[in-house]
Amino acid sequence: MYVEDLKNEFYEFLTGKRILLLVHYDIDSICALKILQSILKHKEVRYTLCVVRGVEDLKRSHQEHCADVKYFVLINCGGTVNLVDVLEPADDAVFFVIDAHRPTHLDNIFSDGQVRLLWGPNEDAEVPEFQAVYRDDSDDESGGEDEDEENEGEGRAAKKRRLDEEAIMRRRERRLWEQRRFDIIAEYSQYTYYAKASAVAMYKLAWLLNKDDKDLLWLAIVALTEQFLFSKIENTQYVLAAGELQAHTTRLKNRSNDADVATSLKISFEKDLKLVLYRHWCVESSLKYSMFTACKMKLWSHRGSKKLYELLADMGLPVAQSQQSFESMDLQLRKEFHESLEKLSEKYNLEDLIFTSFVLQFGYRNKYCASDIVYAMLAILESSPRDKPEECFNSALDCLSRRHKETLQKAIERAKTITKTLFKTVQAAIDMKQIITAGSFVYYIIQEGSLDWYMLSNQHILLLLAQFILRAYVSMSKNKKAPDLPLIISAPKNLELGTCIVLGIPPLRQLSPKNNLGRAFEEAAENINYDVLSDYFDTSYFEIFTKDRTRFFDALTALFDK
């Protein structure tokens, strides 16, 4: 059921009640959570927070709390699964779902009040009609009985024959309807993609309630940038959403307050470069390890690094300066950095280096752009093998509040390590030709013994690696069909159980991020009668046993060849 009047039916509804917040383990949900927390503070709501990494966690948290709590708010989880079936809740339990994953499960859309989706029907594309998907079974029986009573006058044999014929007709019609329903559902759910970020929706609610401020706006900006950096949404969608947020930025600008630099918080909308963490790193490293520049200039090869030095020389940046940290470069060079890169972008094939983003400034020393914060949070959430998820979650929440600057700094350092690791992995993969073509798709397997495998077993870092590898492969390959091939990447996940995680991403030529590899995985698994442990809410990730990996890939090859 869709809830469009968020203010009355969600916010006012939850006043004074006891709720359970189930939050998915990713950056968008953390931002949405913070916004929701700050607006719920004004209402007397008692809530408990649970971190959810997959469907199992969702079931477990629900089980632990369902005796005392009747109202559940699910952030970025649960939209794509049939909540009533999976959780088996009590009849008076109500679920409010705000989820960016699509396609939404049909049972959630057509639920009669137990599952309430906090967005409008215009954000779900191509939802089939209710009649096409649901059918009242009792119609059949009651139809038969009516006919019985009406035609008592007829002879018994004739009536029986007619009833048999009608029963057969009805059964045939039923089968046809089920076939059509199966096709409709298959077509509806074949592509997985992401819609508007939950944090942006929460920010709109805060704005409706007049409780928005620059902090909440910054959280919405971070969530949107995350979707853009991980290519979860298309360029046009990003530009539209960024335009809306820019309108809010200008509205919240306070000229008199902003004049005092020491205490003010300024958000500005600027052109930014697709270089990872360049403000907190040295120029040479940032240019070398960022996915965009590395793939365009092939910086893992010897010729590529020479080209890099050419680029630096063309920009007028001495090598010594480019190896120092950005903040210690000459002021003049720093100011001209953007423009010189822009001018040279055509010559070095670096178009699209510039994109519009937001920069946060508070105090004299703290200037962070939205992508910096996204990478820092990614580092906290996904690169500590020893910490438990709840502790990482708490650190991530700390890092977003401006009081814990050291957490943010340490996270940025770790993000630099992650970027370097990704680059080195891609370099090794290309040099040792480990990216293998299997006809209609490309695949890459991360072996268990390699360094840093634990980093790569997490969802988003694996996604970044997959995109990096695909772009690198396409830039190095002489195969004309390379931009049309999707990539499947596999990394070890749990050494004790012997499982590995498999992710598929769409080919480069396809501009839209709609991903139908999840469906391919399911079909391949069905074909080989394999029981898959698919715990993730994003269906393009699968978990299988390492020993069955080759069989699975063979089944995929057969499927793609069809």
Partner: protein, 197 residues
């Protein structure tokens, strides 16, 4: 010199500004003796002065004045000593409640212990009288709290917590909750929950 021991008494109190040193009975009795001695000497000299006024006109008035000033100084120091100790005792009552920890009790004189119990009981009587329904414990928050509900994080695995409205809450390590202040304060003091700013 007169008044030196009284000065020592004050210095001792100054050295231990926030805590209570043991009740210095010997020093106090020494000062007491000094004062008594001064008083008796003064009395004799005053009598002599009085008697000699009529016969020889011998006047010890300056001496009398000096000794009187010394007596007053000693008494003032003793009073300051006692008053500051009592002030410290009152702060202890507000911080720790009406049961005195044994280390503190060892440092008090009997009179101070009596004072403490009487102060405690009149404070309890007052707190019972204000606010409806049994009174308000003012010692919980010395400053008025900013909000009714606070966000807390659970630091240890505590298990089930019974809330005032009857429902139960599962407190696992590292879980976060948003609860009314009254429910959490006891647990925050025990160290089970941690207030998240």
């Amino acid at each position: 010199m007169f008044g030196e021991k009284a000065y020592l008494l004050i210095k001792e109190l100054d050295r231990n500004r926030d805590s209570l040193p043991p009740y210095n009975t010997e020093l106090l009795s020494e000062i007491h003796n000094e004062v008594k001695q001064l008083v008796t000497e003064n009395q004799e000299d005053a009598n002599v002065s009085e008697q000699s006024r009529l016969v020889e006109n011998v006047s010890y008035v300056p001496t009398l004045k000096i000794r009187h000033a010394a007596i007053k100084r000693n008494i003032r120091c003793i009073l300051a000593y006692h008053y500051n100790r009592l002030k410290c005792l009152k702060t202890i009552r507000w911080q720790f409640g009406s049961i005195l920890p044994p280390e503190v009790k060892a440092n008090l004189s009997q009179a101070e212990i009596d004072f403490f119990s009487k102060y405690s009981s009149s404070l309890m009587q007052y707190m019972r009288g204000i606010g409806d329904d049994g009174g308000v414990n003012l010692a919980v928050n010395l400053k008025p709290p900013k909000s009714l509900y606070i966000e807390v994080r659970c630091v240890v695995d505590y298990g089930q917590l019974e809330l005032t409205d009857g429902s139960a809450l599962l407190l696992k390590k590292n879980s976060r909750h948003h609860l009314p202040r009254t429910e959490c304060e006891e647990l925050i003091r025990q160290g089970v929950l941690e207030h998240v700013v």
